[in-house]
Amino acid sequence: MSDRGYTLAELLVALAVAGIVMSGLLSMLMAGQQSYLVGTNQIEAQQNLRIAIGRMIQEIRLAGEDPTKVNFDAITNQTATGLTIQNDWNANGAIQNAGTVGVTLNDGVTVVQRGEQVIYSLNGTTLMRQETGVDNAAQSVADGIQSLTFTYFKADGVTPAAVAADVRQVVIDIIAQPVHQPSTSAAGAVHIKMTDKVRLRNRGA
């Protein structure tokens, strides 16, 4: 057997073969890495969005509880990016814009402190929520909100509600992204959009 070593041709062939194999492996690795980034970012954005929209939907759905029928506005200060939800929890015929009221749950025993106004607003890319009395300042609900649009309708769900008193349905369009959004989709940049229409149960819509 010869001990003269490899020839140049053998080395080049070996390098070429190794290069082909490595480039294949590299592309697989990059694809896997991209899938991972997109997947994790999508999950992050989706979870942020679900928390944000889920909480808003529930509170808007129950807005305007008015046991004494004074007919205050269920939704006020309504803009494209914010609104105030009102409930007369203690049935005194007025909305308290400060402090909390004790709300007795259906078991007749448990009392929770609630504010009669809940304000949702968008601060940059952060969805903020402030419940009067409960929160001293607006609290962050979800980050990475790229856009938020509220649209207000009358009971028919078609006619826009020009004034607060007419609001019976609210459509929420919200787009979110990861808090640290990569610059390109190849690097895992994603956008998640959710839309929902909420009917105000306490306003007979």
Binding site: G32, T40, R50, N106
Partner: protein, 444 residues
Amino acid sequence: MIAVQVFPMMTMARLLRDERGLALPMALLCLLTLTGLVLAFLTVSAFEPQISANHAQSTQARFAAEAGVEWGFDYLIANNNWNNVLTGATANGKDITPAQPWVGATATSGTFTVSVRNDTRASDTQITGVAADTGTATSDTNNILILTATGTFGNATRTVTVAVKKAVLPTINAALALPGVQADVNFSGSSFNIYGTDWNMDGSAGSAQPVFGISVAGGNTVNQTTVQNALANNQQNDVVGISPSSPPPPATPVLANGDAAVVNDYTLTSQQVTDFVNAIKSQADVTIDVSNGSMASYSDVGSSCSSNINSNTCFGTTSHPKIVYVKGDLTNTLGQFTGLDISGNSTGTGILIVEGTNASISGDFTWNGPIIVTGSNVGLQYRGGGNGGIFGAILVNELAQENGVQFESDIRGNGNIRYSRQALDLVQNTMGRKFYQVYSWREQ
């Protein structure tokens, strides 16, 4: 014994130089890296399907609970004697249905249970908006119940609590009832008729117990005298009703006419009328907003019913009665204005509510059901013509005590006001769902 293999020096050097088989470890290394990435990804994403599943299940459970509310609402309408519904209930209520799916679905789509209780807890005020029922767990006295529907789907459970309120048409005690603080009336001519005897809607005599011809608030002899003084001698026969001294059923009722048919009576109160209007006006089929200087004028009301029952100029038929609510904006208790004017050949069936303004009705006008005029400085001018008339009753509920003479009722021409149990029953029985209201929707 241990065997030791000794490699010659040449063999060892060859082994060290031999690079065959390098591809396998490299491939394994890459595979390991990729596997690590995949595992990391799966670790993060494995929660996502579970979160989604939980979300879907809770949403479906809420749908089931909402279906339960609708089911319970229908149940309370169908079983309108709520004390029967509450039989056997405790302070925490009673279940009125076992777990069941909603109509047209199977249990795989979710199920709901519904319970009902009387609003006797002090804290129920927060839900109902009124003082707690002074009755018991089995005895409802304020026509409000608390209904709880629990929806279940998979592992998720959602509960919706609502209050259900029942409006009760007040006991109408006269063909023309004036239970408010004032009862200034004007009668013109002697062709009008106010009959407290029972009539059918086709103009034939009914068989129900008669009521008074004209009533005012119980104990208010001033208003009673005011009405009696407004009746001229030649108008005495135009007002007929049961005599206050008539023996109770089943004895044959004794009728009275003229001044004797004008009675102050406690059966119908101003508050009852106000409460009833407040309870049902939000259920109106037709709502007409009027203001001073912006009167709503209608001619030949009801002519559109045959082509479009949902038309706003169709004020109901006997097969499709409606609640028509005319809402005035009278806030100045010293003034008054006419916000509704109906003329021509007009018909309607249901409940006509006029609040905060005056109404003027003329022409050949036929209405089946009660006409309620309520608020401050309100009144009804009824100038009948043709063969029409009001079958049911007129209730004018004046809430303001003004100094001048502003008529609560001005009856002219050949206007006919005929008490009709048939028309009132039609309204009560066929408009049932409108008399019930779900409110204070809460989720847990």
